[in-house]
């Protein structure tokens, strides 16, 4: 009997074990398949590794071990090298099509502040600028203007039938060689050096995912029916604050119920504070909740057959939209609203709307990254977030429309959209409406819109908002004009080039151009190093070498030999760039040239924080849809600056601007006297130094209604400098309802940045509380909307991931896991 019981029990045990394994596999399969993920991850890493090994060995074999010191005789030769940049071919700007398209949208800025009785009685408005502006005279003349004046442009028909512009550059005047002020630079705010200009409707058959797909479908191209039909973007810009509404139209083209999942980008500084699900005429406002709670509500609603939508944040610039129980042939729209501040460089404001998430590389063993997989290959990356990409020859019906109303408050002198074809209509001298041309509606690159205001003046730099929570402000500080007359210190330039697979082709060619240009502009007394990384890192030599003509030639040769392929082990590049002793005689400047397509941003940023020392980091984003979150954060942590180099833009011009910036000292030791105001919670907490062409935005809270005067003081060289700004919180002309959200978003960003290197377990809770209180998206909060009016019939249906094209200029075969 005992034997029988024993056998029965053992059999039961075996069955249970099998059942357990079966159920676990079943569960994991439902979520993507654990075993498959591991295998897929491994396979991918092997593929990246194999592709890279050859290039690595080639590059290493060309490394220079020891190089001689510079001599005085070499200086003239160096100057010759520096000026040997005579002709640079670039994509010419296509003319903006003028079309008197009248905006149908009014200026709907009034927002009711829920819980604000005053607001309930009419809303609190905001509008434009007043006529005050002490800072107006502090804006420097633009370097871009200078460059344009230098260039004699000759329009020709060039390669691939494109219009090219040959720019004949005159020799640059030699730059003064001592910039002692830069050696003591401290800053914790980024500065945008220049902006990317990506191509407009460029049909390039060699580039998967390029604009070729939108021009005309070839016979081989197949349109795949997908649930995301259209994205509509409406922006309203007032001064330097943008209010943007993004509407995603989901439609079920299938015969059965589906859940749509779409991973998409938004600007890294977007303060997402509204979410509305639209079903016909019914509009359901989503509720901000703790992320886990929102996910549970969504899963329950999905399971029970209710139409529901969930918005989560995977990175500050990557979001996931899920819409459950979309019935066959039905449409559900999702409307997202956010505020963001615009970058301001050399008199130009810049509005960016990213359209596609670039394919990321995730280091082996990571699971919290962003996987890049082929359409239909759900789960094979093994990453928590996954983006599916269309193959070359495939296209979806998803297109995008963009309309931006600009109210500059002062006359707009010029509008430029280097990335796309647009129509531009003038409403008044201060107002413009810009619309994306319908022929340029494939969402595969960042939309970049710039506008230049008249003269050198900005009417107002201070914007406030007051409600029951108190007062909030943003203050844009402009650098003094007289910084341009001083000199820089000798530098130790470290160039770090991303040679991974996603950079292969146009991006790495553009990055090589940029480094080449930079090497040629080094000054006597400077030293330099070139580091490349993909699966591992290698470099020109063991230590930085003097900028002699001979060394520069070797550097140029080394750079020319670098090709793209393999993984993106950026951590290796960071170690190589920051882990060697600092030359105390020189200002160390580390330039990262990368598309930033990695999934382990937090790890990278933590490493930079821990290893930075006295170095400054200048990050250069190369490509059409780069990871701006990573590049901006690198520059902020590195107390440097960021610049973006478009694939059809002159890298030389960007580098020239970069050198223009670092060739002048900053306004240092900046202090602010707030007068009679009680000001708290200012971000950034430490006011950064002010560089030429680089304004910074401060945001904070204040108490009190009375007018006051803000005095900003600092030193430029041996001179004291003072900037005076009147503070009139009651002036309705300088108010904006989004300021509170901008402040809260900045606080979240600051806490999140701290969390990358600080193990304080209270930081996530602090972020969550701020996000909940201000109704903002964060890593710890999410928007949920459920239509409780009816249950749809049947099971919750199949999950359909919305695939996207790879960004313009990025190769599918070297970046997407199949």
């Amino acid at each position: 009997m005992k034997t029988k019981i024993l056998i029965t029990s053992v059999l039961l045990g075996v069955i249970a074990t099998i059942l357990t394994g079966y159920l676990i596999v079943g569960c994991s399969s439902d979520q993507g398949g654990i075993s498959q993920r591991t295998e897929g991850q491994s396979e991918r890493n092997v593929a990246w590794s194999d592709a890279r090994q050859q290039a690595d060995s080639e590059s290493q074999s060309k490394s220079v071990q020891t190089l001689p010191q510079i001599s005085d005789e070499s200086k003239s030769e160096l100057e010759e090298l520096r000026t040997d940049t005579g002709k640079t071919a670039t994509m010419g700007d296509k003319p903006i099509v003028n079309d008197l398209v009248r905006s149908k949208r009014g200026s709907v800025y009034s927002r009711f502040q829920a819980g604000d009785r005053e607001g309930a009685r009419g809303g609190r408005g905001r509008r434009g600028y007043n006529s005050e502006g002490v800072l107006s005279s502090d804006i420097p003349p633009t370097s871009r203007e200078s460059n344009i004046r230098y260039n004699q442009q000759l329009l020709i028909k060039g390669l691939e039938g494109r219009n090219l512009v040959l720019q004949r550059r005159p020799s640059r005047p030699s730059t003064p060689d001592i910039y002692s002020e830069l050696a003591t630079v401290t800053a914790d705010e980024i500065w945008i050096i220049a902006k990317a200009e990506t191509g407009k409707i460029i049909a390039d058959e060699d580039t998967p995912g390029s604009g070729a797909m939108l021009a005309k479908l070839s016979e081989e191209e197949k349109e795949i029916p997908l649930p995301l039909k259209h994205t509509d973007v409406k922006g309203q810009i007032s001064g330097y604050i943008a209010t943007v509404e993004v509407t995603q139209q989901f439609h079920n083209p299938y015969d059965e119920k589906i859940e749509a999942v779409y991973v998409f980008p938004l600007p890294q500084n977007a303060a997402v504070n509204e979410f509305i699900m639209i079903i016909g005429e019914r509009k359901i406002r989503g509720i901000i909740r703790e992320r886990q709670e929102a996910e549970q509500i969504y899963q329950e609603a999905r399971r029970q057959g209710y139409v529901a939508s969930l918005l989560t944040q995977e990175r500050p610039n990557i979001f996931t939209q899920k819409v459950a129980n979309i019935e066959p042939k039905k449409q559900i729209d999702v409307n997202i609203k956010y505020f963001s501040t615009l970058a301001y460089v050399d008199g130009w404001y810049e509005f960016i709307f990213p359209m596609v998430v670039g394919p990321r590389f995730n280091p082996p063993g990571s699971t919290d990254g962003v996987g890049a997989v082929a359409y239909g290959k759900t789960g094979i990356s093994g990453q928590k977030t996954e983006v599916q990409y269309l193959k070359p020859g495939q296209r979806s019906g998803h297109d995008i429309s963009v309309a931006v109303d600009i109210n500059a408050g002062v006359a707009i002198e010029e509008i430029s959209c280097p990335s796309h074809a647009v129509t531009n209509s003038t409403v008044t001298p201060e107002k413009r409406t810009v619309k994306l041309n319908s022929l340029d509606s494939i969402p595969n690159k960042d939309f970049v819109l710039r506008y230049k205001i008249a003269g050198k003046t900005v009417k107002s730099a201070l914007v406030t908002h007051q409600d029951k929570r108190g007062g909030f402000f943003t203050l844009m500080l402009y650098p003094p004009d007289n910084l341009k007359h001083l000199k820089r210190a000798p530098m130790e330039m470290i160039f770090v080039l991303d040679c991974s697979g996603s950079m292969s082709g146009k991006p790495i060619a553009k990055a090589r151009d940029a480094i080449t240009r930079a090497l040629k502009q080094l000054q006597p007394g400077d030293t330099f190093q070139v580091i490349r990384f993909s699966n591992n890192a290698s470099q020109l030599g063991p230590n930085p070498v003097p900028a002699t003509p001979e060394n520069i030639r070797m550097g140029l040769s080394y750079v020319e030999s670098l090709e793209g392929g393999g993984g993106t082990m950026m951590i290796e590049g960071i170690k190589a760039a920051l882990d060697f002793p600092h030359d105390p005689q020189r200002f160390r400047l580390v330039s990262f040239m990368t598309d930033g397509y990695i999934g382990n941003e937090t790890e990278i940023l933590a490493e930079v924080y821990n290893r930075l020392g006295d170095s400054r980091i200048f990050s250069f984003g190369v490509g059409s849809s780069v990871n701006r979150y990573l590049l901006d954060r690198l520059a902020k942590l590195g107390r440097g600056a960021v610049a973006y180099i478009g694939l059809d833009e002159s890298a030389g011009e960007i580098i020239d601007l970069f050198y223009e910036r670092i060739s002048h000292p900053a306004l240092t030791n900046v202090t602010i006297d707030w007068g009679g105001l009680k000001v708290t919670d200012v971000y950034p907490a430490k006011v950064p130094d002010l560089f030429v062409g680089r304004p910074i935005i401060l945001t904070g809270r204040f108490e009190g209604e009375r007018n006051s005067t803000i005095r900003i003081t600092g030193r430029v060289g041996n001179l004291d400098q003072e900037i005076v700004i009147p503070f009139n919180p009651g002036d309705s002309g300088d108010t904006h309802g989004g300021i509170a959200c901008v402040w809260a978003r900045k606080k979240i960003e600051t806490l999140a940045s701290q969390a990358t290197y600080d193990n304080n377990s209270e930081l996530p809770e602090q972020i969550k509380q701020v996000a909940l209180e201000y109704g903002l998206m964060s890593a710890y909060t999410a928007f949920i909307a459920v239509d409780s009016s009816r249950q749809t019939a049947g099971e919750h249906g199949v999950t359909v991931n919305v695939p996207v094209p790879v960004p313009y200029g990025v190769r599918y075969d070297t970046t997407v896991q199949e």
Binding site: T20, I24, G123, G286, I287, Q296, E300, A301, L772, V786
Partner: protein
């Protein structure tokens, strides 16, 4: 005794699986969860309604707000009402809206439909407190707020 031990060991192999499943559907297994609507009406009599603010409480039962739907009148249809996130973070539901339309509703009108998740078997009871109703000039007007439980379709 030995049999019991063996069976217990066997069961221990099985238990983790349903336990894991239970984690995934914790709320549905431990507490019944359902979704329902609550329609909110405001009667401003002969006065045109331009703005309002109210607070919703559950006096019985456990609820979570999972959406706020727009009203029925064109003046309150374009945008769904707003909620106060700071209040929501402290378990208070404060909802408000305003309209700048010339055509404003008078009399009884559905101003919002609240989408709710109801947790547990208890049928919730609700209490509404109208903070303010106002006309187009921002003047407070008398109004009565009521609710109706939505029917499941």
């Amino acid at each position: 005794m030995r049999t019991i031990v063996i069976i217990l060991i066997t069961l221990s192999l099985i238990v983790p699986v349903p336990a894991q499943q239970a984690d995934r559907y914790e709320t549905s297994v431990q507490q019944k969860v359902r979704f329902a609507q609550l329609h909110i009406y405001l009667d401003s009599g002969n006065q045109a309604l331009a703005a309002y603010q109210f607070e919703l409480k559950a006096t019985a039962g456990q609820i979570k707000i999972v959406g706020i739907e727009n009203g029925e009148h064109p003046a309150f249809k374009e945008e769904p009402p707003y909620y106060d996130p700071a209040a929501m973070a402290n378990d208070r539901i404060i909802i408000a809206a305003f309209s700048t339309d010339k055509n404003l509703p008078k009399g009884r009108t559905r101003i919002a439909s609240i989408q709710l998740q109801i947790i547990g078997d208890a049928e919730p009871e609700y209490a509404l407190e109208l903070t303010v109703a106002a006309d187009a000039n921002g003047n407070e007007i008398p109004a009565k707020i009521t609710y109706e439980k939505g029917e499941q379709k």
